[in-house]
Subunit: 169 residues, 4 copies
C-alpha cells in the first residue's frame, strides 16, 4: 500500500513492519477509522472538537514507532499461531482459551501504553475492563484467537489519547 | 492502635509507618471496610464467594508492604501540604487544582499497582477512570486537597484484586 | 521431574507450564544454580550470608508465579521460532539479528520484574546493560537465537534479588 | 532566565515549572552540561558522533515534558523538606537516611523513564546501580538530602539516551 511508505527504507525494516502490521490488522477488520472512533468517544468530554481525521492521523503516526510495532507484531504472531494450533503445550491451551490470569497480553499492551505517559496506562486499563467499539468487536469475534489483539489495540488507542491529552490539555 | 502492631519493631520503622498511614487514611474517612467494598463489587463476577473480611484482611496485609507504604505516605504528605498551601509555586497551584495532565499521582499509584501484576495495573486504570464507592467519595470531598489520595486508594484496591485473582483464578 | 510437582493439578496447567519452562531452560544450559550464582554475586554487598540454596529455592518459588511463567514461555517460543526461521518477515530478521531498538524482549522482562517491586526493575536494568555470569553465557551462545532469553533470565534474577532485599533489608 | 521561555504562557504554568526546576537543579550543581556528559559517555559505543550540544538540547527539550517536570518537582520538594527536617515521622527518618528499600525515588524515576521506552527504563536501572559522573557527585554530596535527586537525574539522562537511540539506531 503506497500511502504507508513514509520512512526512508534504511537497514532497519520499519516500512516493511508497518505494512505487515496494517495488513494483519485489516485482515482482522481492525481499521484506523474503527480505532479512531474509540478515541473520539473516549476524549469527547475533554476534546470536543477533535476530528476523526486527526485521531486517524495520530494513530497512524503512533503505529510507526518501532517499539510499538514490535510489541504488536509479537502479539499478532502469537494469536495467529494459537489460531492454527501451533503453540507448544500448555501454552496452546492457555492462549487459545485465554485461561486464568494470563498477563502476557497485558504486559505487551502496557509496554505499548508507556509511550503515552501514565494517562495512557490508566486509559488502557479502563479500555481493558470496559471494552468499547472495535475492542468489543474483537472480543466477540470467535472466528479466530484474539487473546492479544484486543489488548494491543486498546493500548494503541490509549497512547493516542495520552498524546492528544498532552498536546491539548 | 494496638491491633496494628504486627511487625517486629526493627531498625526500619515499618510499624510506625503502617500506623501513620492507617491514622491518616482514617482521618480522611478512608477505612479498610470502605475499600473492601470496592474490591467485592469489582470481583463479584469472578469471586462470588469472597467475603468482606477476606478483602479487609488482604488490604491490611498488602498495606504492610514497605514500598507500598512509602508511596502512599509521599502522596498523603503532598495532599496535606497542598491543603495547607505549603508547596512551592507553581507546584502548589497545580496540585491544589489538579491541573492538566499532572501524572505524578498516577505514577505513584502505578508504582503501587506493580505489586499485583499486570491485572492490578489494568484494574487501577479502570478505577482511575470510573471512580467507584469510596474512590468517588474521595473525589467529591472538597474539604481538602485529595489529588493523590484517590489514585493511591485505587491502586491499593487494584493490588488486592490482583492478588485475589492470582490466588483463586 | 517429580520435584517440580508442587501445585495442585487444577484446571489451569501450572505444573505442566513449570515443567515445560524448566525443561526449555535446561536445554539452553540455564540452571537454577547458574542463576543463583548471579543473585549471590549481585547481593553479596547487602546479604553476605545468603546461601546458594536459599537463592535457588527463591528462584524456583518465583518461577512458579503464573504470570512470570507465561511471559517466559512466550519469549522461549519466539527465540525457538526465530532459531528455526519460522517467524513472518520482517519479524524473523529483526529477532534473528536482534536488530536496532527491539524492545519487546525488554517489555516481557519488565513485566516479569514488576513482581519484585521497583528495586527488581532497576536491578534488571543493570543486568541488561552489564551482562554477568550465566547472562553473559547466554549472550555469547551463537548456536541458537537468544534474543529474549537473556532478558527473561535477567528479570527473573532481579525479581529474586528484589524479594530477598524486601525480606532481609 | 530568558532562554527558558519557550512555551506559550498558557493557563498551565509550564514555563514557570521549567524555570523552577532548572533553578533548583542549578542550586544543587546539576547542570545540563553535567548531565549531557553522562549521556555522551553512555552512548559513545552506539553514537560516536554525538556532540555535547546535541545531548544538552535533547535534555532541555525532554525537561519541558510536563509529566517529567511534575515528577521531578515532587522529588525536589521531598529532598528539600527532608533537608529541613519538615517531613512527618517516620517518613523524615526514612528519607533523610535513605533507609532500607525505599522505592518511591525509583517509582518517580521509572515514571520519568517511561517516556523513553523500555531502553530508557533499563538504562535508568543501570545508572541507578552504577552511578556515573554527575550522578556519583550527587550521591557523594552530604550537604543536603539527595534521596530523590540521583534517581530523577538518572531517569532524565536515560530518557534522552532512549530518544537518541530511537532516533539514530
Amino acid at each position: 500500500m503506497k500511502e504507508f511508505i513514509k520512512d526512508k527504507e534504511m537497514n532497519y525494516p520499519d516500512t516493511k513492519m508497518f505494512n505487515y502490521i496494517m495488513s494483519e490488522l485489516n485482515a482482522r477488520n481492525v481499521t484506523l477509522e474503527g480505532m479512531a472512533k474509540v478515541v473520539l468517544e473516549g476524549q469527547k468530554r475533554f476534546l470536543p472538537n477533535l476530528t476523526l481525521k486527526e485521531a486517524m492521523d495520530s494513530l497512524e503516526d503512533t503505529l510507526h514507532k518501532r517499539e510499538i510495532m514490535n510489541n504488536m507484531s509479537i502479539g499478532l504472531v502469537m494469536d495467529d499461531m494459537a489460531t492454527k494450533g501451533n503453540l507448544p503445550e500448555p501454552l496452546q491451551s492457555i492462549v487459545e482459551n485465554d485461561l486464568g490470569v494470563f498477563g502476557t497480553d497485558e504486559t505487551l499492551a502496557l509496554g505499548i501504553s508507556l509511550f503515552g505517559g501514565s494517562i495512557a496506562t490508566t486509559n488502557y486499563g479502563s479500555l481493558d475492563v470496559h471494552k468499547k467499539g472495535i475492542i468489543n468487536d474483537i472480543d466477540k469475534d470467535t472466528s479466530r484467537v484474539n487473546t492479544f489483539l484486543d489488548d494491543l489495540v486498546g493500548a494503541l488507542i490509549a497512547v493516542v489519547e495520552g498524546k492528544l491529552a498532552h498536546q491539548y490539555a
